[in-house]
């Protein structure tokens, strides 16, 4: 059995055009993520990636279906689930007037744990910023600190929501290496991303989502084999971005 098992997940919201009606932000999604796997949820804006992730994390209520994290039912025991997962959110806002060390100690205390903030910051290469405030950090440093906050409880599973959005190539590469290192230590990682290169480089398996449903799910290599266009006269190598565009279309999304 996978460390994350989701069966026929559904989430409905009032339709923006007609509040009397609803639309399925997530429509009968099933996942079976194995321990120590890096699993990617890939999809255009509004595909339902973040909603799916938040249902797995116990942050958003589940309309239909079930999620089990390490055998624990998320709907019945959300607080038990939160003890064994680490979550990095898209927003990087924290309480004012607290430095990195104080924030990490605060988050550790919310799990009733004691930590050495220097040790956690060293993991994300921020040990020299221990007395800095979040506002003093660069974009890449903020993202790494956000991951540091998610590590205070030494989680079994780490959820990353678009971790490299807005980062420069160096910061992006640095963060990928961090994710790889954490995975090699035995952590299961689930991430959402728009970045094809990121999905291809980091993920053992990928689920491509569109309009609330999973439209393909496999290893990056297999997806390329299955969906990337055949090389034509001018030999070009297909990549996961080709797969993505074939499956979800070329039209712009909000």
């Amino acid at each position: 059995m996978g460390i994350i098992k989701a069966v026929n997940l559904e989430k409905h919201y009032p339709s923006p055009d007609n509040p009397a009606k609803t639309f399925a932000a997530v429509n009968k999604i099933s996942l079976n993520i194995q321990p120590k796997e890096i699993f990617g949820l890939l999809g255009p804006n509004g595909a339902g990636k973040t909603t799916t992730l938040e249902m797995l994390e116990g942050l958003t209520s589940i309309d239909k279906g079930n999620v089990f994290i390490d055998g624990v039912d998320v709907t019945k025991h959300p607080y038990e689930v939160k003890k064994i997962i680490g979550v990095q959110l898209q927003s990087n806002e924290y309480f004012d007037r607290l430095n990195l060390s104080e924030l990490l100690i605060l988050f550790a205390n919310l799990y009733s744990k004691s930590i050495d903030p220097r040790f956690i910051l060293a993991k994300v290469d921020l040990e020299n910023k221990i007395n800095a405030f979040p506002d003093d950090l660069s974009g890449g440093q903020k993202q790494r600190f956000s991951i540091a906050c998610a590590l205070v409880n030494n989680p079994k599973i780490l959820f990353l929501d678009e971790p490299t959005t807005g980062l420069d190539p160096q910061a992006k590469r640095n963060l990928w290496n961090l994710a790889k290192d954490l995975n090699e230590e035995g952590m299961t990682i689930v991430l959402t991303t728009h970045n094809m290169e990121e999905a291809e480089y980091l993920c053992d398996r990928i689920a491509i989502m569109d309009k609330g449903s999973i439209i393909a799910q496999d290893t990056p290599q297999q997806l390329i084999l299955d969906y990337a266009p055949e090389p034509n006269e001018t030999p070009i190598h297909g990549n996961i971005e080709d797969v993505f565009l074939v499956l979800t279309g070329h039209g712009l999304r909000d």
């Binding site: 009032p14 994390e57 942050l59 607080y79 038990e80 939160k82 003890k83 979550v87 959110l89 927003s91 806002e93 924290y94 309480f95 004012d96 007037r97 607290l98 104080e102 605060l106 988050f107 205390n109 919310l110 799990y111 009733s112 906050c149 998610a150 409880n153």
Partner: protein, 362 residues
Amino acid sequence: MLTKPQIHLASIFIKIFYRDRQSLFFSLLFPLIFTCIFLFSGGEPNPTKLGLVNQSLDALSFKFVELVKKEKTFLVKEGSESELKEELISADQTAVIIIPETFNQFPNPGKLRLLLDASQVRQVDAIKDSLKATLLSIERDIRNIEPMFSLQLEDVKSRPQRYIDFLLPGILAYMLMNLCIAGSGFNIVEYRRRGILKRLFVTPIQPKDFIISIVLARMFIILIQLSVILGLAIGLLKINIIGGLLPLYGVILFGAFIFLCVGFFLGSLAKTQESIRPLVLLFTFPQLILSGIFFPISSLPSFIQPVASGLPLSVIASTMRNISNDGAALFAINFNFLGIVFWIFFSFFIATKFFVWQKVAS
């Protein structure tokens, strides 16, 4: 029993407040302004300005003038009718009394004329009553008769009661309400908007843990803020807390709990910082009028008194006043105590039931 996360989170909120020098400055500035206002005014309302025109120039009229001048509630200025009338129109006088030339012509003395600014309704009655009493005293003097009945005012509670003694508990309760709602309602909207609440709730803490933590922290901060005011009031304004400080602090803690919980509820209802302001005003403004802060609830129209008495600010202010002025016990079973118990449970229920930590759906 408090948990380790609750205690740590509470200590963090206190640390954040302590490091916010601007908040610290303003939280101490108001008590200082408040104390200075009452220190310089002597803690009593200003005397009524009364213009006096004496057209009689007779010994009796001078006696009347002397008696009126002795009244502490009046600040008397003598002058001509035209001059004082102008001052009355420009609101430099509250009333002008004119003693006619025929003031001493018995048995049909000329009538005293009282010129008034009708908008000063509250003072008018007091002026009329004082003048009647003065006239009566002069009449007795002329007729050489002793009053058959005498009225000696004796406070049954045997303590000096000033306006500031009445006002201070109400002001403390009103400040308590505002500090609490600013500390919970406004904060929660801001924390939610910035995604800080979401960051907290990816950890295993529950809404009740968050609410208890912020309530603990704010209670601590508010106790210090109100202690500064109380300290100044006791030290400089010579306020006597007859029932003792301990029961008074007890009510302050109960009040803080109630208003912080109401703040959480309002913060959960509000979608933005802009919408929390009218919501808070809707809650606080009627209570400023109806809860007997500046005037007793008994001076309100009778049909509204039962509702006014049950408002959270009313039960807190009345209990504080009863302890401060009358030495009442904190846990005396009466309407106010039952009101406090009701509001404690009701406010905690609505705070936790309606708590929203995610973005409010539009």
